[in-house]
Amino acid sequence: MLFFGILSILLAVAFAKDTCYTDVGAACNSLPKLDRELMSNCNAKYGYTKKHHLVDLQSYANANIGISFEFLLMSSYFGNYEDQREGFKKLYRKFSDEMWEDAINTIKYITKRGGTMNFNESPSFVKPTNVLELNELNSLAKALDRQKQLANEALRIHSTFTQINKEDDAALAHYIEEKFLEPQADRVRDLAGYTNDLKNLLTDDDPSVSIFLFDEYLKKSL
């Protein structure tokens, strides 16, 4: 019994090196040092984030911000008096709002897991575009591509730590699955459906009425 008692104390000391508890103990028993040095283990890093910075999530948040602004401008274009497509305007505004919220939530999650946000971490998976004055069908195609890029990157990030780094961080995996992978599958499917519908409608000689009706459908269905 005594042996086990001594063993457990020895084990506790041996494994406690990099814990917050030992930091606090040392801090209270010594002369004041810099705050940061004192309690370097008193943070929210565990699992995957204990060893890795969430660089991918940082650039993912930045990508969402950039794409949110792209959708905002695409939406604005359909709101001008010449194009006058309120359904398209509403669709892209909805995406812009959602990407903006996703960016904020990603930043919150990074900090929840002990990380910091770096706005300079530019996303390599998405190339910014300078042409946002698109017609109806082209804009749907562009939107679909963007949503797929976001979805593919979310899948890649997910596999980075589940497969490549072999860190079984279920919390991080669940976050990406719930907040990104599921809604992205819906967005991609919706946009693919819209694109095909509209393309088939455009086979008429004069597609003006078709586009008008499709736009009205979009406006009412959102």
């Binding site: 940061r36 602004f69 905002l72 401008l73 695409m74 709101g79 946000m117 706005f119 004055e133």
Partner: protein, 178 residues
């Protein structure tokens, strides 16, 4: 609308978004585990979304006045970054927020001046000037007053109690009590 007036109004969209980005960075800074000021973080994240809404309001106004028929892509540059990513404490961040708002107000005043008497036309844009004065300046001055009040309260709380003052203020901010 006079061209110079439209150009200035368009540039205001980016000014608002830039402010939003700095607020976003403030929200991110105060959300860190080692900073842990959830009240400040919430306040700044909300401010970021508010600034974005301002940008959208200006876009809507331009659309209402028949603008943005061919040049929406030029409204925003590709990479918009915050002014900085860390702040030494709550007072510093609130003070910088106030400076940011003062700067935005100054931009709006410049637009008002120009659109009343544009250099390149005789058209006095009464409606835009009224809209900016009534809607935007009112909101700016209310926002500035709110920030100034918060800086005073927090400053007083911290003179004698330092960190405890900021801790308490943060919890009040979280529940919209200051």
């Amino acid at each position: 609308m006079a061209n110079s007036c439209v150009d200035l109004l368009k540039s205001q969209v980016e000014t608002e978004i830039k402010a939003a980005m700095t607020y976003l960075a403030m929200g991110a800074h105060f959300a860190r585990d080692t900073v842990n000021r959830p009240g400040f973080s919430k306040f700044f994240f909300e401010s970021a979304s508010e600034e974005r809404e301002h940008a959208i309001k200006i876009i809507e106004y331009l659309l209402m006045r028949g603008q943005l028929t061919d040049d929406v892509s030029k409204l925003l540059s590709n990479r918009l970054l915050p002014l900085r990513e860390t702040w030494s404490n709550g007072v510093r961040a609130l003070t910088e927020a106030l400076e940011l708002e003062t700067n935005v107000t100054k931009h709006i005043q410049d637009i008002i001046k120009n659109c009343e008497k544009p250099n390149d036309s005789n058209f006095n844009d009464y409606h835009l000037v009224d809209y900016l004065t009534g809607e935007f300046l009112t909101e700016q001055y209310k926002g500035q007053r709110d920030l100034a009040g918060k800086i005073s309260t927090l400053g007083k709380m911290m003179t004698a109690h330092g960190v405890l003052g900021e801790f308490l203020f943060d919890k009040k901010l979280l529940n919209n009590e200051v």
